[in-house]
């Protein structure tokens, strides 16, 4: 079964450095997402992306964050000038189709996550 893949699985970075987290969504999926999960807390939505532009972003997703789909397969999350509080697991996710009530393509599939530690 195709899966969302993410790299790196774990990254340690110094505060103030830039980090790029990479994702390869499932190949025929059109909608892409980033979520994060701070240790011991709930999974939080960061951003959705469709048709090469951001569809929606949460208040967490400020100017420090950016997303890009540089080619036909990768979907990246860039965090500029990382802070200690950015330490979290970052999940990439994708969905095959646009939301349609009751639609079979509504399921969002998640990658295994990239664990970011900012020191």
């Amino acid at each position: 079964e195709p899966e969302v893949t993410q790299t790196p699985s774990h990254q340690v970075t110094q505060m103030g450095q830039e980090v790029i987290l990479r994702c390869v969504p499932i190949s025929n999926h059109l909608y892409f997402y980033w979520y994060r999960q701070i240790l011991g807390q709930k999974v939080e939505f960061l951003v959705s992306f469709y048709n090469n532009e951001i569809s929606e972003k949460s208040e967490i997703f400020d100017d420090q964050f950016s997303v890009e789909r540089p080619d036909g397969s990768n979907f990246t999350l860039k965090i500029r000038s990382t802070k200690l509080e950015d330490s979290a697991m970052y999940f990439c996710a994708s969905r095959r189709t646009g939301w349609r009530s009751g639609g079979s393509g509504n399921t969002i599939y998640f990658g295994e996550g990239s664990w970011l530690t900012v020191v």
Binding site: K42, S48, Y50, S55, T107, Y109
Partner: protein, 111 residues
């Protein structure tokens, strides 16, 4: 506001006992709810969607619009069911509608 609430952070049951993980939601309109499971720091995996009315790994969940609940149930828990369970609800409008997750319930099935 549209949200899901999972009132129990931790739940322990013995193997073979019934288990119910609670989820309540707040949503205007007809919700479409999901349960995701996360085993030991692995990816979030879809367990079931209410719209498909299926039973996965012996789990079922019924949408109760009167009580605004979507509790997850299994009649006989197994040790391999120990995991983090998240209830999720799609929010916002538009085709990219993302999921919002409850805070999760850590289920431990004791031998």
């Amino acid at each position: 506001a549209q949200r899901v609430t999972q009132p129990e952070k931790l739940l322990s049951v013995f193997k073979g006992a019934p288990v119910e993980l609670k989820c309540n939601y707040s949503y205007s309109g007809s919700p479409e709810l999901f349960w995701y499971v996360q085993y030991s720091r692995q990816r979030l995996q879809l367990l079931l969607r209410h719209i498909s009315r299926e039973s996965i790994k012996g789990f079922t969940a019924d949408l109760n619009k009167g009580e605004t609940s979507f509790h997850l149930k299994k009649p006989f828990a197994q040790e391999e069911d120990s995991a983090m369970y998240y209830c999720a609800l799609p929010i916002s409008s538009g085709s990219a509608r993302q999921l919002t997750f409850g805070s999760g319930t850590q289920l431990t099935v004791l031998p």
